[in-house]
Amino acid sequence: MAADSITILVVDDEKIPRALRSLILQKKGYRVVAAASGKEAMELLVGGVFHLVLSDQMMPGMTGTELAKAIKSIRPAMPFILISGVNEVPADASYADRFVSKVGGPDLLFNTIAPKY
């Protein structure tokens, strides 16, 4: 599947990091839809077509892993990648398919997403 036919749902509560992460993914050719919370992501997911969810871990309300659990319960096949500034893998990270560090740079992020497509 070509990158431009893949839509990624980017979830992050922080506005600037969310925007920049969306921009680099777009520059790489992906289509991006952004959500500012787990709740918003769930709403978008129900109404739209997505190929992958890339979510921050530490968010108020619903954490990344809680979002992963919720998504997997309705879309078990939906690829889910967790991105975090904390280098510690959360205890319930197994709901996510992959874990990627924020400081790995854009290339590490692309490499983490690519094998899924």
Binding site: S84, V86, N87, V103
Partner: protein
């Protein structure tokens, strides 16, 4: 024949009365009165009655003997002239019987010279006579003396037997005390603490089995020697202060550093007390070396954990903006509106940013603890460690040789694997204070027994080597050759981690012509390893040199 008892005064009667009351049945002496004439017996009875003694009457020598056999008689008062058996004959019979040899006899007789002579013939025992007419006071006095004598000797006998009983009791007590002392001595030997008694001068008087076990010195080797000289004791304060406290309080407590027979330093919790009399010191020492090390290790672990938590928080706060800036530069880098110069500036900024990201990964990410195994590249891990060590190794004039012949990726936890190799590389570097060569090999192998594919990592140095006696204890907890600098836990923990992966750690140390080579080899099994080159089987440790020691630890 009898004079009236004119001299008996009222006072003396009262005295006798009092005495009679005071005397118990047991104290009363038996007085045997022997006469064939009943009237005389009655008058003796009247005369002696006031004495308060027990009066027994016998009408014949035969009857008298009967009473003698049945009672303990103090005095026999007998008429010399009696039909059948006279007084002398009776006395003769009594003297032949051992029991009556000392029984007092008072003969009553009309004064005949012959009688007096015969009476004087009785040299042994208490014999007396009273001539007729009997003077009541005299009779009473004589009987009284003998009765008293008898009572005294009976008392003496009682005292003697009481004394014997007490001696018996005391002997029993002493036996019990001895038993107790033996028990206590056994307890002293049972104690795991070192129990020592020494003179004030320090000369050892007592040294229990616990002391033998702790210090390695046998009792007979140390008795009489100076304790602190033998054990090279170091006090936590000036020794004169210890002595002063001991003199003032009679006791002292504190930790001492001492040296065992084989040269090992031990820390003991010591309790000293001055012995009663102040001429000796009792000392109980408990080995707390391992306990102190464990506490120290725990403190270090806690400190590391705290540092890890802080690092995690800082990492998060730095990493979030760092990602945003990195992404900004990524977007900026190829932006069409930038001219050559601006692009150059952006490139410089991005390069520096990569350095920052790198540092946070190296340092702040160092404490991260993953909960699920992730793919870990062993060469990548080694490079990360080497990067932290580069400056130190350059400073120590250590040359590095790397041969990575496998991608060596295994499923694992990066933090603990890093700890293993940081330990091994750190040890190797420390073994070469004067410089040398550190060789790192990563290649594919198979676990010795299971034949499962494994990544083999070999870390070799040309340092000071490992002596055979140290080699035996290398993987023991708290064993360290680095004195106070090492916790002695590094290799022990490393071995534990490696075993958790189903792996093994082995080492060899070789010595040839003054040159040493020490190789640690770690096997980490993994099914998913990928080959870069054909495994070359490069094997430094088993190459030519003469082998001294091989230690094999793990499965």
């Amino acid at each position: 024949m009898f004079k009236t008892d004119a001299k008996m005064t009222a006072d003396s009667n009262a005295d006798l009365g009092t005495r009679r009351e005071k005397m118990s049945d047991q104290d009363r002496a038996n007085i045997l009165m022997v006469d064939d004439q009943a009237s005389k017996l009655i008058s003796y009875e009247a005369i002696l009655g006031p004495l308060g003694e027990n009066l027994i009457k016998a009408r014949s020598a035969r009857e008298a003997l009967h009473h003698l056999l049945q009672n303990d008689i103090a005095v026999v008062l007998m008429d010399v002239s009696m039909p059948d058996i006279d007084g002398f004959e009776l006395a003769e019979m009594m003297r032949q019987h051992p029991r009556f040899q000392k029984t007092a006899i008072i003969f009553i007789s009309a004064v005949h010279l012959t009688d007096v002579d015969r009476i004087k013939g009785y040299r042994s025992g208490a014999v007396d006579y009273i001539s007729v007419p009997v003077i009541p006071e005299l009779l009473r006095a004589k009987v009284s003396v003998f009765a008293e004598l008898h009572r005294k000797s009976r008392q003496l006998e009682r005292l003697n037997s009481e004394l014997e009983r007490r001696v018996e009791e005391r002997t029993e007590q002493i036996r019990e005390n001895e038993e107790l002392l033996r028990e206590r001595a056994d307890l002293l030997e049972l104690a795991t603490e070192a129990i020592i008694v020494r003179e004030m001068s320090g000369a050892i008087l007592f040294w229990n089995a616990g002391a033998e076990a702790l210090y390695g010195w046998q009792r007979e080797e140390v008795l009489g020697k100076l304790v602190h000289q033998i054990l090279k004791t170091r006090f936590p304060m000036d020794y004169s202060s210890v002595r002063a406290i001991l003199a003032r309080d009679g006791k002292w407590e504190g930790n001492l550093t001492q040296t065992t027979r084989d040269g090992q330093e031990v820390v003991v919790a010591c309790r000293k007390a001055l012995k009663a009399g102040g001429n000796a010191v009792l000392e109980i020492n408990r080995d707390i070396t391992a306990q102190l090390k464990a506490e120290d290790a725990l403190r270090k672990t806690e400190r590391l954990a705290a540092m890890g938590r802080v690092a995690g928080i800082i990492a998060h706060e730095i990493n979030n903006p760092l990602e945003a800036i990195t992404n900004t530069f990524y977007l900026l880098r190829d932006h069409p509106s930038l001219d050559e110069e601006a692009r150059y500036y952006a490139k410089l900024g991005e390069e520096e940013l990569i350095r920052v990201a790198h540092i946070t990964r190296q340092t702040l990410g160092f404490y991260r603890e993953s909960r699920h195994p992730v793919p870990v590249s062993i060469p990548g891990l080694l490079d990360e460690i080497l990067e932290l060590q580069t400056r130190r190794m350059e400073f120590s004039n250590i040359t590095l040789q790397k041969h990575y012949r496998s991608r060596g990726t295994i499923q694992g936890f990066p933090v603990e694997l890093k700890q293993v190799f940081l330990n091994l590389i750190g040890n190797a570097a420390q073994a070469m204070p004067a410089g040398g060569t550190l060789r790192l090999h990563v290649f594919e192998s198979s676990a010795r027994h299971s034949r499962r594919p494994a990544v083999c990592i070999s870390i070799c140095d040309t340092g000071i080597g490992i002596s055979p006696e140290n080699a035996k204890r290398l993987f023991e907890p708290f064993f360290t050759t680095k004195s106070t600098k090492g916790t002695g836990l590094g290799l022990w923990i490393s071995k534990g981690i490696i075993q958790k992966y189903g792996g093994a750690i082995r080492f060899r140390t070789l010595s040839l012509g003054g040159h040493n080579a020490t190789c640690f080899r770690v096997f980490l099994p993994d099914a998913e390893f990928q080959k870069i080159d054909e495994p070359s089987g490069v094997d430094l440790a088993t190459s030519s040199a003469e082998e001294i020691v091989e230690g094999s630890h793990g499965r």
